[in-house]
């Protein structure tokens, strides 16, 4: 990681955001902070996956939520759970680790399935296809109620993971009003972020990473030199999808329940906002982007109070998303490279 002014600024801004959250919430700042960090970890991990799609390979993937969804559903359906309105119980299942690995592979395979036909499409068409595919996934998942529990969702699956929870978490959180179960998920997400970043750093400096960069620069030249550009793009698509799948599992465990409404287009847009904020193409960018983003979001009720006297849930959500929308626009117009991205590295033209 290069220590330069951009990185220092990013660290400063992140620290200031965390500090502000502390200061602006004199009652129980720790709870808000733990919550923030947990969400930041999960969403940051997903943004890292998206960054591989867009930052490394220049693919406009607007269906990212579906990769998270596939990972979550496949993993959770393979462990003990209860699904649907009646809460039909499936009491046996695979060990969590195995289910998780299968879930990640499933997400990667879905990436392959989607990518195979779509990757030859021009940028804006790929965007439309990925959104459409994600919507189809969501609609089908919602419809096959007997398996996925439809809108009633799936519950009672947390034990498979929580039984591995380290006891120091319970002890550390004794005096704080924050669920140890959630904290465990949050901790795991940051551990996975670190592991993923190490893996990606390694890949980036490898011949594979070099090949991918060449594909981003000029596909035709890559082909003329005997390399299969399409297969390289597909591999990166699968990698990013797999990472998103992992994030999706963590997201479901964070809530303790899984249902299709978790994986709507808005989730994809959140991840995009975080990725752009952190810096397209930067490995560590999503970390900073995610923390700052969630710090902003967690203070939206303050903004909402300016407009509404007693903002209800819908209105809070509304203000939150208005801010997200404005944030995305302002970033793309004035600072598309975000915090840590390199301006020259941005692929801002449809190929």
């Amino acid at each position: 990681m290069k220590i330069d002014s951009k990185l220092i600024f990013a660290i400063l801004l992140t620290s200031v955001s965390i500090y502000l959250v502390f200061v602006l919430n004199p009652e129980g700042p720790q709870r808000i902070l733990f919550n923030l960090l947990t969400f930041a970890g999960i969403y940051g991990l997903s943004a890292i996956g998206l960054n591989i799609h867009f930052g490394w390979t220049g693919l406009l993937n607007f269906g990212h939520a579906s990769f998270m969804g596939i990972g979550a559903y496949v993993t959770i359906l393979l462990i003990p759970h209860a699904a649907g309105r009646e809460g039909e119980v499936t009491s046996t299942g695979l060990p969590f680790i195995l289910a998780l690995i299968i879930g990640i592979i499933a997400a990667a395979l879905f990436g392959l399935l989607l990518g195979l036909p779509a990757i030859r499409l021009r940028g804006d068409y790929l965007a439309i296809v990925t959104i459409a595919a994600a919507e189809i996934f969501r609609l089908l998942a919602r419809d096959f109620e007997s398996i996925t529990g439809g809108v009633y969702g799936i519950i009672s699956f947390s034990d498979a993971l929580q039984k591995y929870r380290l006891s120091f978490i319970d002890n550390a959180l004794e005096n704080f009003d924050f669920s140890p179960a959630q904290a465990w998920v949050g901790l795991l997400s940051w551990v996975f972020i670190i592991l993923t970043l190490l893996l990606l750093k390694r890949l980036n400096s490898s011949p594979w990473g070099r090949a991918l960069r060449a594909v981003r620069e000029d596909e035709d030249a890559v082909r003329a030199l005997g390399k299969n550009a399409v297969w390289l793009k597909l591999q990166s698509f699968m990698l990013g999808a797999g990472i998103a799948g992992l994030a999706g599992v963590l997201l479901a465990f964070n809530y303790g329940s899984l249902e299709t409404n978790l994986f709507i287009p808005l989730l994809t847009f959140y991840i995009w906002a975080i990725m752009i904020l952190g810096g397209v193409g930067s490995l560590t960018g999503p970390i900073f982007g995610s923390i700052i983003f969630w710090a902003i979001i967690s203070e939206t009720d303050r903004v909402a109070a300016l407009i509404f006297e007693n903002a209800n849930g819908q209105q809070l959500a509304g203000v939150r998303f208005v801010l997200v929308g404005i944030l995305i626009m302002i970033l793309m117009i004035f600072r598309p490279s975000g915090l840590l991205g390199k301006k020259e590295e941005l692929l801002l033209d449809v190929k």
């Binding site: 890949l203 490898s206 011949p207 960069r213 060449a214 000029d218 082909r223 003329a224 005997g226 020259e344």
Partner: protein
């Protein structure tokens, strides 16, 4: 084993009613330096695209080393030994000159995902070899001083040189050069021409599209003239220079 390198039969390609390429039969032989010339719009680049897999023909067949490659993908044809360059130089802008070469030199299996994760000692050794190969080539071509410059910082002529370097680093059998001298200053053009000649002497079969007639006449063993998608002449420099049809096709056209 025939001496035929590339054979094209009844090759047709049209765009919206306009026939870009219409070649009955053309045979290119091994170890020859063949130039393809013709006025603008004669179909030269389309012809290149058709034989290198970048465009599909409406009709006809392309046979390379006695295999039918009419429907093959560009990367497959390149792996068979035919490497091409492009009219509009395609260097990897945001990668260094060295990286451009390393990528080209690296084998497909070395580029694999699994090797990206594992770091076996054999890979390290291979990467070292790639570095040596790249540096040697850069030295030969006099571009070693630019090794760490980003490709986009190069001048037009230097980019052409880099593209050429990339194409030859793995000793291809056939080199398709699409206007290797276009937009290059005369001094550098001379150097590039010399390099091309040396490559031909070392046994690489070369097919070159060029507008620089002087250069073409100087180094080509064989010249094929295309006009309106058809071959109108085929012979050595002297024959072509005196061919009335060729003169007529070029009448009033400047070479660039």
């Amino acid at each position: 084993m025939s001496n035929n390198l590339l054979e094209v039969n009844s090759l047709k390609k049209s765009f919206g009613g306009l026939q870009a390429v219409n070649i009955d039969n053309l045979i290119l032989r091994k170890n020859e330096l063949t130039s393809i010339i013709g006025p603008n719009g004669a179909g030269k680049t389309t012809f290149f695209d058709l034989i290198s897999g970048f465009q599909s023909s409406d009709n006809g067949e392309v046979i390379f080393k006695e295999k039918d490659i009419t429907k093959s993908q560009p990367y497959q044809i390149a792996r068979m030994g035919m490497i091409r360059t492009f009219q509009l130089t395609k260097v990897f802008d945001r990668m260094t000159v060295l990286e451009n070469l390393l990528f080209s030199a690296s084998s497909v299996s070395n580029d694999s995902f699994s090797r990206g994760i594992l770091k076996l000692p054999s890979q390290k050794k291979y990467e070292k070899e790639l570095l040596e190969k790249s540096f040697k080539l850069m030295e030969d071509l006099n571009i070693k001083h630019m090794a760490n410059s980003y490709a986009r910082e190069l001048s037009g002529g230097q980019k052409k040189l880099l593209e050429l370097a990339r194409s030859i680093i793995n000793d291809p059998e056939v080199l398709l050069l699409d206007e290797p001298l276009a937009g290059v200053n005369p001094k550098l053009a001379e150097d590039i021409l010399e390099i091309i000649q040396k490559l031909a002497i070392n046994g690489i079969s070369i097919i070159m599209v060029e507008h620089n007639i002087e250069a073409v006449m100087k180094i080509s063993e064989r010249i094929v003239v295309l006009a309106e998608g058809k071959t109108i002449a085929d012979g050595n420099a002297k024959e072509i220079r005196n061919n009335p049809e060729v003169i007529e096709a070029y009448l009033g056209k400047d070479d660039e």
